[in-house]
């Protein structure tokens, strides 16, 4: 089962469609099982301070803040948090629903159903980055010695 970091990375980088599909699935499953899905904190814009470790002396400093949208949701007795940079409220809420579901009893079943899709999303990100890196790496300088002029 993918850990929280890899799961949220796959969902955030995928762009939101997979999160919407998964959240809808969770809500339908919860309704069938009579589990309550409640929004504890409505999606809202907040800030996260970006903390960096510089390389000259190893000192930590704050580079600046980033705008993000967060949401807190409960699925049954479990609480989930959704966080995504930017201002997409639906995305944040979908992430929170998924997080709550994975934190509780539905987690194992969800994992069986969605693990393959999440791993496929990871592969998609890797392939997208590979294509981008191919372009970037084409700008790598190929030094060659010039012949001495006599």
């Amino acid at each position: 089962m993918l850990n929280r970091y890899r799961r949220t990375r796959a969902l955030v980088e995928e762009g939101g469609e997979l999160a919407a599909e998964m959240a809808l699935f969770v809500e339908n499953e919860a309704r069938r099982a009579g589990i309550d899905v409640s929004v504890l904190d409505e999606p809202r814009e907040e800030l996260v301070m970006v903390r960096v470790r510089e390389t000259a002396q190893g000192c930590e400093f704050f580079l600046g803040e980033a705008l993000m949208t967060t949401c807190r949701v409960s699925v049954g007795a479990c609480t989930g948090l959704g966080m995504v940079l930017g201002s997409d409220r639906h995305f944040a809420q979908n992430l929170a629903v998924i997080d709550a579901a994975f934190s509780g009893g539905m987690g194992e079943g969800l994992s069986r159903t969605w693990e393959a899709r999440l791993r496929e999303a990871e592969r998609g990100i890797a392939r997208r980055r590979a294509r981008e890196q191919a372009r970037v790496c084409s700008t790598r300088v190929d030094f060659s010695m010039m012949e001495a002029e006599l």
């Binding site: 850990n3 929280r4 970091y5 890899r6 949220t8 990375r9 955030v12 980088e13 814009e45 907040e46 800030l47 996260v48 301070m49 970006v50 903390r51 960096v52 470790r53 510089e54 390389t55 000259a56 002396q57 190893g58 000192c59 930590e60 400093f61 704050f62 580079l63 600046g64 803040e65 980033a66 705008l67 993000m68 967060t70 948090l81 966080m83 995504v84 940079l85 930017g86 201002s87 997080d99 791993r119 990871e122 592969r123 990100i125 890797a126 392939r127 980055r129 590979a130 294509r131 981008e132 890196q133 191919a134 372009r135 970037v136 790496c137 084409s138 700008t139 790598r140 300088v141 030094f143």
Partner: protein, 436 residues
């Protein structure tokens, strides 16, 4: 001299704002925030960096509202961020994990991973491209197709290699994205040879100060310095960095490494384990990092004796692709580490108090506002010196931070670097506010 309250400007101000909006709407052409974000990414980066807020769409919207004025857009973003809560601080970012889109070194030709130019204008001819004047959607699409075809072969090869790497990673249970786009550091070679002092190990650093929460106090901590420079006005940081190289600071630096790309913003789960595996991935921010090298005397760690020459590193980092600002920041970082008060670029108060865009443009901008009373005072002073037989008198007491004697004939002139000078301005600012 007393103050007289006056009114009457309210309606004029309202009409002025209407006129501003009318002028904005008078043009048939319009640019959406999305169009600004995609067509002017460098300007958006500059605004985000100076606002100290990574929010590309919002920065583009602020630029639209500000009609292209970066100062105004930065002010809008700073004002907006002050309305939001900030409950989270990211996990500490190690820039070795940057997803690199560009990495160069001016110090070494053969750096590990190579010199990767990325998308840059560094080697372009600075000639206006008049073809852009007649560019339309069809020509853009055609050019995009041609460029895609140009890169297609390299992409196909990379995809094959990526698929193999993915299979290997899955078989070995590794994170398939952990090494994608990573490059080793150019300066590790010098660190390995002891020519550059190693950075303190992770976790050994003191908690950073925060310029958004605590006022700048001189002497400033290193974290406060770096944050203040990172959010400094781009042109101010570049101008002071240039001055430092021209003779008002240490000698010409060498850019050991400049890297630009994406950094992951990861947030620990509240009351969680504190491990990466339990944390939330929120997205990425684009940033540029610079390590500049300066020659300096090395000191033996034990006895403090002269140990020959070595290199010191100046550090710069900014949001986005503001490379010149990042390089200038690395120069100023080194200047402020040296701290030789003979040079203004090494004077913390001079550099850090004056690079902030909102502070600088705000103070300069306030000079446009009514100063009727203070100017009447100055006018009286000037007129009094023109009266037959009159002795020159000092300006009005209103401008004196410590009573009239501060500007009296017997007072010694202020030293060029006197710390009192900025305070004198502050008092005038307060007086101006009182006048208003």
């Amino acid at each position: 001299m007393g103050y007289v309250a006056v009114r009457g400007g309210g309606r004029a101000i309202e009409e002025s704002l209407r006129l501003l909006e009318a002028e904005r709407l008078s043009s048939a052409a319009d640019a959406s925030a999305a169009a600004i974000a995609s067509t002017l990414p460098d300007l958006v980066d500059q605004v985000m960096g100076e606002a100290s807020l990574f929010a590309p769409r919002l920065a583009a919207l602020a630029l639209k509202q500000a009609q292209g004025s970066p100062d105004e857009a930065v002010f809008l973003l700073r004002a907006f961020r002050s309305t939001l809560e900030r409950p989270y601080v990211s996990r500490v970012i190690d820039t070795a994990g940057m997803y690199v889109r560009r990495r160069i070194s001016a110090a070494f030709k053969d750096v590990p991973g190579g010199q990767v130019l990325g998308a840059t204008r560094d080697y372009s001819h600075r000639l206006v491209n008049f073809d852009l004047a007649s560019e339309d959607a069809a020509t853009r699409a055609e050019q995009a197709r041609a460029l895609s075809a140009h890169f297609a072969a390299a992409e196909l090869q990379a995809l094959r290699a990526s698929d193999e790497a993915l299979r290997d990673a899955e078989e070995e249970g590794r994170d398939p994205l952990s090494s994608c786009g990573r490059l080793p550091r150019a300066l590790d070679y010098l660190r390995d040879q002891g020519l550059v002092a190693p950075a303190a190990p992770a976790g050994a650093a003191a908690p950073p100060d925060d310029a958004t929460m605590t006022p700048l106090v001189i002497p400033a901590s290193r974290s406060m310095r770096l944050q203040t420079l990172a959010r400094g006005m781009t042109q101010a940081v570049e101008a002071l960095g240039y001055a430092a190289i021209r003779g008002f600071g240490p000698a010409h630096p060498t850019v050991g490494e400049l890297r630009s790309g994406l950094l992951e913003v990861v947030i620990d789960r509240p009351l969680g384990t504190g491990e990466l595996a339990d944390a939330y991935y929120a997205g990425t921010v684009s940033a540029t990092e610079v390590e500049s090298l300066f020659m300096a005397d090395a000191r033996d760690e034990g006895e403090g004796a002269d140990a020959g020459l070595a290199f010191e590193v100046g550090y710069g980092m900014v949001f986005g692709r503001c490379e010149s600002k990042a390089i200038a920041m690395s120069v100023l970082d080194r200047c402020l580490e040296i701290g030789d008060a003979r040079y203004p670029t090494q004077d913390e108060e001079f550099v850090l108090y004056h690079v902030d865009g909102v502070e600088a443009s705000g103070f300069i901008s306030h000079l446009k506002l009514p100063h009727y009373v203070t100017f009447q005072s100055k006018l009286s002073s000037v007129r009094s010196t023109r009266a037959p037989g009159a002795e020159p008198s000092p300006p009005a007491e209103l401008h004196s931070p410590a009573g009239s004697s501060a500007h009296g004939e017997s007072s010694p002139p202020a030293e060029p670097h006197s710390p009192d000078l900025p305070h004198q301005e502050d008092v005038e600012g307060v007086a101006d506010a009182a006048t208003l």
